[in-house]
Symmetry: C2
Subunit: 349 residues, 2 copies
């Protein structure tokens, strides 16, 4: 249930909830877009006669909330409806919760069990905790390259290196992320839309953060056409914001150092806006700057079985690594064959 919500819930975590009575599932819920309502309330809302809930068990992938936010505290509702038992996978490390709900439920005479539902659930929660407590959203780098790691010809042709199924999985990846960061180079070269073009998931296009230090991008670019998502432009404090009428564009001024916008400052600002999952699809320089600062948590590397040779454009720009012990190390956690392409998933070590 929690997985259904991934990519849509920010600034809330994706949570799943199941209500069980007499060994029968009464309803299922998951965090709704932007966290309204929470998973528990979503599950409760599907039960017509609320009296049926009395004595039921509630399974939650995360401790229910106890604080007033955009919604009223779930914990009160759970007590009011007389659940007899609540089974949660993890205590919420959000300092606003952090076991207060567990204690409140127990004080109300409800049996609370904390039981690890497994790695998949823990990973979801940990991404949220890290994002909230360390100002560090989970960053996925997507690369689509030849077998020798080239993402385009030297004339910048990249359509298409990987096959159509790989590209669909790429769109799915967009739907699982709340926002994307993209550099000016990629936008001017490719004029991309960067939306999710899968049937039924077109409303899942991530919000966009553009690094446009000098504010040079023209407003007739395709990326500005999609009105259903937020667009943010990071620019240097040395360059003046132009006035455009597109109301979905937000400007964020950053102090530049040596003609560069500091990438860690940018990530922190994105985190402060509540985003917990960021997708980066290149270009090579942006990927390199994130790798240098150890900001990449996961790499989804699609490799076609084709070779371009060294006059193509490399997936990753210079990292200035001279010593072989200083290579950026990842852990290979999964690999899939996609027809004649290969997808390798790496996680930060």
């Amino acid at each position: 249930m929690a997985l259904r919500a991934v990519g849509t819930t920010y600034p809330n975590p994706p949570v799943g909830a199941i209500i069980v009575k007499n060994d029968k599932i009464l309803s299922r819920g998951w965090t709704q877009p932007n966290g309204v309502p929470h998973a528990e309330i979503h599950a409760i809302s599907q039960i017509k006669n609320k009296r049926d809930i009395e004595g039921a068990h509630l399974y939650c992938t995360l401790e229910p909330c106890s604080h007033e936010g955009k919604t009223s505290p779930c914990v009160n509702k759970i007590i009011d409806l007389k659940f007899s038992k609540v089974i949660i996978s993890q205590v919420d490390k959000n300092p606003l919760v952090n076991s207060t709900s567990v204690n409140k439920l127990r004080s109300a005479g409800i049996n609370v069990v904390i039981k690890n539902f497994g790695d998949q659930v823990r990973n979801l929660n940990n991404i949220f905790f890290k994002s909230l407590n360390n100002n560090k959203p989970f960053i996925t780098l997507k690369i689509a390259s030849t077998a020798d790691g080239k993402i385009a010809t030297k004339l910048n042709e990249s359509k298409w290196i990987t096959n159509s199924i790989s590209r669909m999985i790429g769109h799915k990846l967009r739907s699982l992320n709340e926002c994307m960061i993209v550099g000016t180079g990629t936008i001017t070269k490719d004029n991309p839309v960067m939306d999710c073009r899968l049937d039924g998931l077109s409303n899942r296009s991530p919000d966009i953060f553009i690094l446009d230090r000098k504010l040079i991008l023209k407003r007739n670019l395709k990326i500005f056409n999609n009105k259903n998502r937020k667009i943010y432009i990071f620019h240097s404090d040395k360059f003046k914001k132009k006035i455009y009428k597109l109301k979905n564009i937000n400007y964020i001024k950053i102090k530049e150092v040596n003609n560069v916008l500091d990438i860690k400052t940018i990530i922190r600002k994105i985190s402060n806006l509540g985003y917990t999952r960021i997708l980066v699809e290149g270009g090579a320089k942006l990927s390199a700057s994130l790798l240098i600062k150890n900001q990449i948590d996961e790499i989804a590397w699609f490799r076609a079985s084709k070779i371009m040779g060294n006059n193509g454009i490399n997936a990753i720009s210079e990292l200035n690594i001279e010593n072989i012990d200083h290579l950026k190390k990842f852990k290979l956690i999964n690999t899939k064959t996609i027809d004649n392409d290969q997808l390798s998933i790496y996680r930060k070590k």
Copy 2:
């Protein structure tokens, strides 16, 4: 049985033979080093009392020979020993055989069945046929790179990008090939031994072909130390052969064109010496020149889960491909996870 012989049999193909009587295996044989003796004779040699063979069935992965070579024709021995049936996977496309043995056996009253033993056997035979009839040995390119396709730092450090198990599999690959080609650049930079250092397989080190156009290599290099294999040096006709006392070095003069030794001429000369399987382990320029001429039949690509960035040395040098449709296309036929490395096997499309 045939697979046991791969890499050791040149100029003969690796063949397997099994002798069966009353549904019981009497003996197994495979082509012995450099083809002496052939698989059938090797299997026969293991049966003490030759009279036991009368009425037995002989399974062969390839049609037995009918011509006098380093050994006398196997087909005569099969007739003499009164096998009742011979089951072969494929007729030998060597023009010296090409069904003559099948006919001779049938004339002698032996039941001959031609039955495909499967792709693995056909692949072995086809490599031999192609090498013999088209002067085109099977060329495997081995690459050990980072996830982003780099084989060394810009200071040429490459020890070690891949893990120790990957490197052992790399040594196994050497044992399966009859010879290797290597460029002067790799030898001067790395001073490699290029032998097979697996326990029990040290006698399986491939012969070495060095491309030393100007004859600049010093004789104190490690590669010249192993006396148990043949070493050939291809050099330009413009540069004079120096006289060295190492007796295992053979010189082959090639006409150079635009300061380059033509790679297809080199492959043909290696084929003329009887070699059917060549391993290339780089460097980047040699790999590129073979790819440009479509000479690579298989790539064994070991990828570590590390990233070096674009100041490392690329696995493949310039191929001068400007159009994305002209990328060198391969078929992904196998992929293995080796701890935190990944091995992908590509075949020519």
